[in-house]
Each structure stands twice: as C-alpha cells, then as structure tokens.
Amino acid sequence: MTLQSPTPMSSDGAALKPGFADPVFDAQAVFRAALVAIAYPGRAIPLDRTFAAPRPLSSATAALCLTLMDFETPAWLDRQTASGEASAWLRFHCGLPLIDDTSTARFAVGTDALNLPHLLEFHPGEIEYPDRSTTLVIQVKSFTDGPVTTWTGPGIKGSATIAIDGLPFWFWSDWDLNSELYPRGVDVIFTCGNALMGLPRTIKVEA
C-alpha cells in the first residue's frame, strides 16, 4: 500500500474542521440514508443534517465519508479532492489511508467528475468476494439538470428518469461494461449538495 503523501500533517491544525458533533447518532442517520439510497436507486435522499464540510467536499460527501470510511478502507481521492483541505480532514477524522492506486481502493472520492478515471480502472471485486469492489462517491452538480437517462432494476418500480449533470461523456457506456462484470463491479453513490443518490451495480441505465 503506497501512501499518497508520506509527510505527517503539521501539528498546527488551525484549518482543520471538526467532524460529526455526535459521532454515533450522526453516523447512524447518514448510514440509514445511504442504505435507503442504495435500496431505492435514482431517488434523491436528502440528509437531515448539514455541517461545515472541508473544501471541496459538499456536506453530503463529507458526511458519507465520515460514515463509511476508516483506517481499514484504503481510499483514492481525485486530484481536486486531494489538493483541498479535505485530504488532511479525511486522514484525521477517518484515519483514512490515501492511496494512488485506483485498482486496490475500497473507496474512491471524486469531486471533479469530468476528470474521473474510467470505471474499469477501479477494483471490480473478486468472484468469491464481489463485495470487495470499489465504492465510488461522486459529487455532481445536479440530479435534474443534466442529460436525461432511464434507470431500471431492483428498487425501481418500472423505470426512473434521472438527469445527472457533470459526468464525463463516456460514463454511461462504462456503466454498461461494469454491468457485464456482474456479480463483480463497482457501485456508485452520487452526492449533490446535501443529498445522496445510489447507483448499485444491478441497475441498467439507458443514456
């Protein structure tokens, strides 16, 4: 495991923002929201609490990271996320090991979705343990103002019309390839402002 930045955080953490005010109940509430988001793909699930997130994370992205990640989940951050105050914040509050290698990451956080690496570069899981794949947290501009897509699959009654803004042009064709790996494959949780939207690997999307 290679660490992205081996220098320790300076001890004058003047810029470091606090984490959850109530770690147990806040994390439980956000975890519940994440469960609902995964169970009902395509629904925007608002979080019932906001807090001051470190740049460039939105409130929802930051809350999700605090909830899901810890020192045992090596994570990859895109360049924009790694260069902001978010990197030190994640290392402090989650004890998060940051890695350069997308193919071994348990989590990946992208705040600059347009420059995301291709989905096949992330860990697809193993056939015995498909749950070990990378979960991508992708922060987007909007759930409603982008190109229209049609989602079908478990958790969606009939179909859902979703219009995520700010994804690279290749994203949905990559998503088709990801589906072919089933039961392996990555899962995605989109965040926007203070809301989550789940896109588990079981969902088919027509762009």
Partner: protein
Amino acid sequence: MAYVAVKGGEQAILNTHKLISETRRGNPDLAELSLAQISEQFGLAVDRVMTEGSVYDRELAALALKQAQGDAIEAIFLLRAYRTTLPRVAVSEPIDTSKMAIRRRISATFKDIPGGQVLGPTYDYTHRLLDFALAAEGLERPQAELAAEPLDETVPRVIDLLNSEGLIEEEIDENDGEVFDLTREPTTFPARRDQRLQNLARGDEGFVLGLAYSTTRGYGGAHPFVGELRLGEVAVEIVPEELGFPITIADVTVTECQMINQFRGSADKPPQFTRGYGLTFGHNERKAMAMSLVDRAMRARELGEDVRYPAQDAEFVLSHTDNVEGNGFVTHFKLPHYVDFQAELQLVRQLRAEHEERRRKATGSEQAKEAAE
C-alpha cells in the same frame, strides 16, 4: 434446521431474568463483590477472559466475570459481544517482547542465562495443599521481598542470545505486509501462521491444553523444551495517521513462551531444532505453553512432516478452538426444535410401519412355507 417461533414464553423469560439476577447475587446478607476486588483478587481469571475474549481491559473482563457468575466462557462471550460495539481506531506496531519489563522469566534449556532465572509470582513451588489460613478474614497483609536492586531494564530473549551456533531455527519475518485478521476475514485453508496464531491466542485454554498434551503422548511426536517463558509488561505503540510517528499508548501485561522442539534436517539443511510460539494477554502460562506446542504441531506440513494427528491438522484445530462458537453450537440444541423433531417423529413412525409391514409379510410367507412342508 428449523426453528419455530414459540409464543407465550414472554413472561416466563422476563421472570428468568429476575431469577438469575437474584441467583447471581446470592445471599444478600453477604457483601457484594466489586469489580476492583475481582480484578485484584481473581486476576488470573480476568487474564483468561481478556485473552480469549480478545480485549485487553481488566475492568471490562471483571465486569463480565461478575455478570457471568464466574463462568469463564460466558464472560468471554460477553466481552466478545461488547467488543463489536466499539470502533477500531488503530493497529499497533508488533510488540517487542525483548524490551519487556520482566516479572518472571525462566528457561528449562539453559541454566546460566544472562539476566538470570527469575521465578516471579508463581504457584509452581507451592505444595498444592489447601491453605485454610486463607479461609479466615482479616489476614495479615502479605508482603513481597524487595531486592536491593531492580532487574536490568530490558532482558534479551534467551533464544536470541544462545543461538550463536545456529542450532535453533531463526524466526524471520517473511510477511508480505498483509496480516490476517479473523475478526475481519473468513477462516481459509491452508491457513498461514498469522491466522493460526491469532486463532490459538483466542482459543479455549482447555481445548488447546488437551491438544498440546496429545502431541506429547504419541499423537504428534513432540519432544519439547521450554526455551524461555517470560511474563511482564510491554509497550504498545501505534502510529496515528494525524501524527505520522509512533507513540506509546499503553503498557500491557503479556506471557510469552518460546518452545524448542524436535529437530530435523534435509539434504540441503543441517539438522536444527524447530520452534513453536505462545503469546497471551496477562499471566496465562498454561495457555502460552499449550499454544506454543499446538503452533509447532500445526507447522508439520511446512516442515515436511506427515500430518497424521489431530493437533497437526490445522483445519481440525482452527475450526474447533473457539469456545464462543463451540458453546453457541453445542448449547443451541436446547432451543426449541419442535417442528423438525415432529418431522423426524413422523418419519420414524412411517419407517416403523413399513418395517412392521415387511416383517408381517415375511412371517406370513414363512408360515405359508412351513404349512406347505
């Protein structure tokens, strides 16, 4: 496995809680035990619960023992369950037992060891006669002797010191960085030594002791010597992500056993003693020694020995050491199995009816035959 929801027991169950609470308390005219009393005066029971419960916290282990009325396995279960409510915040650097603050340290293989043989607190040289003086209360306060000088601050490990000829195999870290953790990953076979040692450390003392005994009685061909047995305090270091350098977060008491065992050589390797290792939280000498014997037995395959006996069979050993698992499975049979027992009853009745039918027919034809003769 068919479990069936049984209704109607709720009040009875609530009442068992009250009854067990009263039973646990015993005669209320007698003083209640405090956790500090358990921790201080039942220290070895606490050490066992910490080791097999796999959480180093004397007060929690004392509480578990109090709650379980002194039933070690129930207490271990309670501690394991509590553990799941806490987040893991770090993984320590490997503890360095050569820097242990020694309280006991003996070797059965070398008599003149630098730093000396230190008997420490042990029952080894007591007469095992019940001491009725302890039955009295308000005894005179026992007082240990104080030597003029303390022991050396660190005492090197005997095997490291006395192996200049290379007659004993060296333990070398051939780790690829990944350390197996059975609290996180399913047990897999063949199991590497890290997996085996973690399993044995948490394993039931009685079971591991029995297996260890078997290896010395012809079911494993062990001919062991204690290279060194030591008890004392070692520092636990972590490297917090926010600091980036190692800090000591505690001194913990551990017992370590280095067992030297039968030697073998091959065409390219001269004969050499082999080793087994035991390590436990607290003072747990019997467990540490038993662990080191079973660790050695399970190395049979990698050392090119035949795997013939239970203690050498890692799959057998690792699958049955855990007393929380074993207790769960064995004692679950007392839970209602009414439906599947009913199903089996029906099956037995049917088989009996068929058996009866066959017998009747057979006797019928017998009789017909006899009549014909």
